[in-house]
Amino acid sequence: MSRLNNKKGLLAGLLRHQMLIPIAALLLLALFNLIADPSFFKISLGTNSNGDPVLTGYLITIIDCGSELAILAIGMTLVTAASGGQDISVGAAIAISGSVVLRVLCGSDSHAQTLQAPIIVAFLVSCAVAMIFGAFNGTLVAFFRIQPMVATLILFTAGRYIAASFHNNELPIVNDPSFGYYGNYFPGIPVPTPCFIAVICFAVITLVLKRTNLGLYIQSVGINEKTARLNGLHPEWIKFMTYVILGLCVAVAGFIKVSRLSTINYSVIAKDIEMDAILAVALGGNALSGGKFNMGASILGAYVIQFLSTTLYKFNVQSDALPAYKAVVVILLVVMSAPAVREKLSALFAKLRKPSHAAQT
């Protein structure tokens, strides 16, 4: 009986401390950097090429560059929770939405000197387009009941080509500097703009989760679809909705991405970001098979990944070699969280505990 209680306590404890894994990983990375090179944490105020004051330092880089990933992690968490699968087409979808932004801004001339449309219009159009592509994925997953990974494979294959087709394969460049503000700095504000955008996104999703039943519905559908149906929910629609929401996240992330460079490279933009987004969800302790989720943990997970990448870059690891290190992290993570392994571990714990109990009594 006491063993049962112990086990329950342990399990409940693990569940309650879902943030534990990403926080521990973050601390570990911070500690590593502190020992290896304390200057990692230095933040200095410098000026950029335009003469505006900007904050520089590795920490700023992490928070800046992690924005897109964190925003994607929001949508990916919802999709994972509801449909028990992941969308692997987000990178390609970013290429599409980014391409749409540029298409609207540049018009038909890919090197237009002036903006052909207000930036807000471009952004809204790209949102609409990304949500339509999200809806396409959602339809395949929810109504045709195709596994999410496979359904999104279609867009994964075609996305970057579709993006290229909007511009006849030319590389459009936006020459108006105001467009760059969204991906870099607004003049006079030393904090990178993507940070603000990310914070706005977090605020919105927090509000949505608080003011609507989205979280409850998604978790119910993800955990037990049959029960959800018997309690009056429509599981297909809810799954579909999560893909549309992910589409919106993709549009925001894509907007930041193209704004950073004021141009787009179809085959490179947001490359492998889908893998990072999935990893962020997993790192946040969310089951990849769906169900309960913790949005905060996912977002933190995204920044941990960016932290890892930045750390590796700092030690001159080739950007192409990065995946190998990430793979090791992933495998360690999933092996540790595999039920088969957990069972063995908890049996081991129980064994270790028993003698100590005996000693006490």
């Binding site: 039943n213 119910s220 037990n224 049959k226």
Partner: protein
């Protein structure tokens, strides 16, 4: 190992988290005998069989087989096949993507290669000898369920087995197929094979079986010769009521006295995609009625049709005299109907969510997407019902899956009571939960009814029904076969109506 036995199981224990599925169960099967294993839902029949075939590891106990020295160890279905136990499971355990012949020969025999010609010829011969009309090369998925079940039986029969287990094989077969099966069973019996036959159909038991072993709540009730066991007694053994007690229980529920009032709910010719006969049904304000019948008689399917849980194919529904359209659960919920499903784990709980979220779920869905309760409000609701129903939980934040079965059931009951339904459907609310909670739930049902709620109560335990219901609808073979009220509400009449023909002399 006694003389003549082909299989003996002694002192078998098996428990799952929160449930003691088998407690000290012993079972003996003789050579050349057909032995019925009987018991209501959750009695432990399927668990006993899965322990025997190595699907579940047993916690304790021994299994002996004829011709094997000492206790045999069976860790997997392969092991069971090797020692001569072949099984036809309740759910069809064949591969739908393979051909009929392959399904018969898969996982058997020596060698590494497959000879399709030999296999198809063998299968054709086997199938025609058993009178099953299907081409061996046909893909299994394109055969009807009945044919699939016959193929599973053919496979089990073809294996050179000493023990054949048939776990509810007849539920999808029609009469002529059942006749074929029985002929097959008798042939095998002559060859000395011991057959364990699990079924809910009493007629079939009395047609082919020699002995009956009855299980109830994971415990052995007893082993009986078929001749010594009249039908009504068998039913009483399964349901756990001695014959002498039966007449004693007198229900003192006032029969609903509003004969003329408009029913709260009224259905005509209701029928769902789950294959029940179209039925009429009504319930008045403050009335408690019940569907009774053995498992598979269609009682759950009937209430699922009322709630719109299955696809409703025909019928008209009126609530308080006004026609309404109920095709989805949300329609029913908006009309004030609540439904507590039969299978708590599959259809009832949202395992990883907290007790609080589980309680507010249904009401939350009714109030709508944009009107979530504040955390304080939700906690208040949850605590109200935790207090009211005396739910034992560490806190409102505890995930429901870590509660005991009875408390989980109360949480789901609380979920539906929170919606303040006009009509509450309880499908086996007392299954697999302890006695104390059972009584609490029964009392609650009566209290709710006295406050004006209409309740439909389904239970496998007749005395529970008698204590709560003022009107019983009896079902057999997916049809309503009788309606009992007032003086007719006694154990004996219920049992004889359930059991059907051929037993009247026993009931008197």
């Amino acid at each position: 190992m006694r003389e003549g036995s082909v299989l003996e199981m002694t002192g078998i224990y098996k428990s799952f988290p929160g449930v003691k599925a088998l407690q000290n169960v012993s079972f003996r099967l003789c050579e050349g005998e057909i032995h019925a294993l009987m018991g209501e839902n959750g009695a432990g029949k399927s668990t006993l069989i899965k322990v025997l075939t190595g699907v579940y590891p047993k916690d304790d106990g021994e299994i002996y087989l004829k011709g094997q020295q000492g206790a045999v160890k069976i860790h997997s279905p392969q092991d069971a096949q090797r020692v001569g136990i072949s099984t036809v499971y309740q759910e069809i355990s064949l591969c739908p993507n393979l051909s009929v012949a392959e399904n018969i020969y898969l996982g058997r025999g020596e060698g590494q290669t497959v000879s399709w010609r030999k296999m198809n010829e063998g299968a054709a011969k086997l199938l025609s000898s058993l009178g099953i009309d299907v081409k061996p090369t046909k893909q299994l998925a394109s055969c009807s369920i009945a044919v699939q079940q016959m193929i599973a039986i053919a496979r089990a029969v073809d294996m050179d087995c000493r023990v054949l287990i048939l776990d509810e094989p007849t539920s999808s077969l029609d009469e002529s197929e059942v006749a074929k099966l029985f002929k097959m069973m008798r042939d095998l019996k002559k060859r000395g094979v011991g057959i364990i036959f699990v079924t809910h159909f009493l007629d079939q038991v009395y047609e082919v079986c020699d002995k009956i072993t009855v299980l109830r709540d994971g415990k052995l009730v007893g082993e009986y010769q078929i001749e010594d066991m009249p039908r009504v007694m068998l039913v009483s053994k399964m349901l756990g009521k001695e014959l002498d007690d039966m007449a004693e229980i007198k229900n003192d529920i006032p029969v609903c006295d509003q004969k003329d009032s408009t029913p709260v709910y009224e259905a005509e010719g209701l029928c769902s995609s789950e294959g029940i006969q179209p039925f009429d049904f009504y319930i008045r304000r403050g009335e408690v009625n019940g569907f009774t019948g053995l498992l598979g008689s269609g009682r759950s399917e009937s209430v699922r049709a009322i709630f719109g849980a299955d696809k409703v194919t025909s019928g008209t529904v009126k609530m308080n005299g006004k026609p309404v359209n109920i095709t989805k659960p949300i329609d029913a919920m908006r009309n004030g109907i609540a439904y507590l499903p039969e299978d708590r784990k599959r259809d009832g709980i949202v395992g990883d969510l907290s007790v609080r979220d589980n309680i507010i779920l249904a009401l939350q869905v009714i109030t709508g997407f944009f009107k979530p309760f504040s955390k304080a409000k939700a906690t208040e609701f949850a605590e109200e019902y935790i207090r009211l129903l005396d739910i034992k939980t560490a806190s409102v934040n505890t995930p429901i899956k870590s509660l005991s079965g009875g408390n989980q059931q109360k949480v789901i009951l609380g979920r539906w009571l929170l919606t303040h339904p006009k009509y509450l459907i309880l499908d086996e609310p007392t299954r697999g939960i302890d006695v104390g909670t059972k009584v609490e739930i029964q009392k609650l049902v009566l209290k709710l009814a006295s406050e004006g709620m209409s309740v439909t109560f389904i239970s496998s335990e007749t005395d529970e029904m008698l204590r709560t219901c003022s009107r019983l609808i009896v079902m057999r073979d997916r049809k309503q076969v009788g309606e009992l009220t007032g003086e007719q509400l006694t154990q004996n009449t219920i049992m004889s109506t359930i059991a059907g023909g051929g037993n009247d002399e026993q009931a008197e």
